[in-house]
């Protein structure tokens, strides 16, 4: 009898323990949750509330108005800058995707030795300041920069070109290089988890490498593609340092306008309003990514 009773009581204890465990986990939550609320959610709400206020010289009028949004939608400048910013973000995302995919595939599927080291090299640039990396591009593309010296030495040009720096190309190059690791890492993760047997099965069933890529590898790495694209797209969308340091006079981006309104022009309400389209764009992207990412999860 006792031998029958013993496991039963053990089961009871085990059941009680497993019921108690989630309760313990709740204790971990207040810290991070408080942090997120006070340093993320509250400032965001404050920011959004500002969008519905106005400024009278230097004082902020705390009365509800849609004036800022009217300005945003009717003023050509803002829409042009927004369009330019979104286009830049899209092109940079696409470029990084094209650069990162082969690299991530190689790392995940071909490299067997020194994998961690190579992956570390991908992350390595992220350990230096972003500002430094942007300045590095300035020294490369500048009038007396490395690119010009090289082209002069080789004899391709006989005068230092000024066209490299302060241009959309300069911004594109910098963005693509600086955000590349954010694309490589999620792609590496999905490709690393993609079983080789799927690729072999496709080949076994008569698919040449291109069709294998299109019908098996690409759809199964969609969650990684979307995660990486989301990072690169939103990082580019909100950036104002690269346009400031490397952009030309006609290359304003929305982040720069936001910064100007919060700084020089001291128009916090308009600055806050300019953030809204960025937020909307990124939220849309997240919604799409989540939808396909979730699809990818159930599929895998």
């Amino acid at each position: 009898m006792a031998s029958i009773a013993a496991p039963t009581s053990e089961q009871t204890i085990a059941a009680a323990r497993s019921e108690r465990r989630p309760g313990g986990l709740w204790l971990l939550l207040p810290g991070p949750l408080g942090w997120m609320v006070f340093f993320y959610l509250v400032p965001l709400v404050i920011l959004l509330v500002h969008a519905f206020w106005s400024v009278d010289y230097l004082t902020i009028q705390r009365t509800f108005t849609l004036e800022n949004f009217r300005t945003l939608l009717t003023n050509d400048l803002y829409l042009r800058v927004l369009g330019r910013t979104a286009a830049m973000a899209a092109v940079v995302t696409l470029a990084d995707l094209c650069l990162a995919f082969p690299l991530a595939y190689f790392l995940a599927k071909r490299v067997t030795k020194h994998r961690e080291l190579l992956l570390l090299l991908v992350i390595f640039p992220l350990w230096s300041s972003y500002l430094i990396r942007v300045f590095a591009w300035k020294t490369i593309l500048g009038t007396n920069g490395i690119l010009n010296s090289f082209l002069l030495t080789v004899g391709v040009i006989d005068q230092p070109a000024t066209a490299f720096l302060y241009s959309k190309t300069a911004m594109f190059l910098t963005f693509s290089q600086v955000w590349l690791p954010f694309m490589i890492l999620p792609l590496f993760t999905v490709l690393d988890r993609l079983p080789n047997s799927f690729i072999e099965a496709a080949s076994d069933l008569g698919a040449n490498p291109w069709r294998t890529f299109r019908s098996v590898i690409l759809p199964l790495s969609l969650p990684g593609i979307l995660a990486g694209s989301l990072s690169v797209f939103s990082l580019t969308l909100g950036d104002y340092i690269t346009p400031t340091l490397l952009g030309g006079p006609g290359d304003q981006m929305i982040g720069r306008l936001v910064a100007d309104n919060f700084g020089m022009s001291n128009n916090w309400p308009l600055g806050a309003t300019l953030v809204v389209p960025i937020l909307v764009l990124v939220s849309l992207f997240i919604a799409v990514a989540n939808r396909f990412g979730a699809l990818g999860r159930t599929a895998a």
Binding site: S197, E200, S203, D204, L205, G206, L220, G296, A300
Partner: protein, 382 residues
């Protein structure tokens, strides 16, 4: 555990259907991974429609061999010929071969129907025919009405059938199967073994099957190639392999075997006389391919040995006879394993069928006399 088969090599009823050019030919094929040899110069001919099993422990090179036939690995040396065509470095998608992978490798983002029609789509089969053949293939593996489901919604056994349908729908000349039943439970595995064998007969494709499960190999194969350390040790019918193992490894890997070290005394053509230290002279079947001389290993399977007390007549002329002390009794259900300690210190396992409940039980420590036919006792060189 495989049950006692006939002592004579069983002639398979379907042995006559093989013929013509071999389906697959391996000519002195080797594969090195860096400096490590995985396959060391194997040659093999697989006949049309044959069910051939590559059997061996993990790391013996059986999977590498299969992958070389499929084109997933290229041989470091040697040649692979499929249906009369040298494969060279042809990629998998240009070989008349389809594979059932160990973990099925069904595409998770496609439905069962899309999975099965994938191969047909790649070879440009028009849609109406594709739909018809997919339905046929799923019927063949007895899995209708699942076309619109995702693989993840199916059980392991069902996924296995989908993987089979996905390969067979392309009507390959050769079907490669890489331990396809490994993930299934015992009952399902037994059912699938029979179904695979049946499919092999129905579709007429050559099946090359990789497994480390000796019973699976014995049940399904027309021929078995026993592999170890990158070489084929013995190639033959299941009866051949089981009843006439040529090396100690083969005898040991397939089924259970007693190994006794003996000295050869003489030979009278039909049998070799040997001396088992402590027990005296015994007669054994002459070895194949090696001379009977010096110290050799006598291999005799436990189920070939009978207790003297169980036999109706007291003595069978010409049979070998040993006596030992009963040291261990293991009840296994269909039979009981007795372990005897022979006078020379050797152990001898004997399987005694449990014919009737409570029949003639023997106490531990009792001295038992056992007999076996000398033709069941193989002499091995190693």
């Amino acid at each position: 555990m495989a049950q006692a088969l006939m002592t004579e090599t069983p002639v398979r009823a379907d042995a006559g259907r093989f013929g013509g050019t071999p389906s697959i030919e391996l000519r002195d094929v080797s594969k090195f991974f860096g400096q490590v040899p995985a396959v060391s110069g194997i040659s093999l001919e697989v006949r049309q429609g044959e069910f051939l099993t590559l059997l061996g422990p993990s790391g013996c090179g059986k999977t590498t061999t299969l992958r070389m036939i499929g084109g997933f690995e290229l041989p470091s040396a040697g040649e692979i010929v499929i249906e009369g065509e040298a494969m060279g470095d042809r990629p998998p998608y240009r070989r008349p071969v389809n594979t059932v992978f160990q973990n099925y490798a069904l595409f998770p983002h496609m439905t069962v129907g899309q999975n099965v029609s994938y191969g047909l789509e790649m070879t440009g089969v028009p849609k109406p025919e594709r739909q018809r053949r997919v339905a046929e293939a799923l019927d063949m593996v007895r899995l209708p009405h699942v076309e619109n489901r995702k693989p993840a919604e199916l059980s392991g056994g069902q996924q296995q059938r989908v993987a089979l349908a996905r390969a067979l729908v392309n009507r390959p000349a050769v079907l490669l199967l890489d331990e396809p039943l490994g993930a299934l439970d015992l009952k399902l595995r037994k059912t699938m073994q029979l179904e695979l064998k049946q499919l092999n007969r129905e579709v007429g494709a050559t099946f090359v099957y990789v497994t480390h499960d000796q019973e699976e190999a014995l049940t399904m194969s027309d021929r078995i190639a026993v592999m170890n350390e990158g070489r084929i040790l013995q190639l033959g019918t299941p009866g051949d392999i089981y009843e006439r193992p040529r090396t100690r490894f083969v005898a040991d890997f397939i089924g259970q075997t007693n190994f006794l070290e003996v000295e050869v005394i003489g030979s009278d053509g039909a049998a070799v006389e040997v001396d088992l230290p402590g027990s005296g002279p015994l007669r054994a079947r002459p070895p194949e391919g090696v001379p009977a001389q010096g110290t050799m290993t006598l291999a005799v399977r436990p189920e070939k040995i009978s207790l003297m007390a169980d036999l109706p007549g007291s003595e069978i002329p010409g049979w070998d006879r040993l006596s030992g002390r009963l040291e261990e009794i293991i009840y296994v259900g269909t039979y009981t394993q007795y372990v005897l300690r022979l006078p020379g210190g050797q152990e001898l396992a004997v399987h005694r069928q449990n014919r009737a409940v409570g029949e003639g039980e023997h106490p531990m420590g009792e001295t038992l006399t056992v007999v076996f036919n000398p033709q069941s006792a193989a002499l091995l060189a190693d």
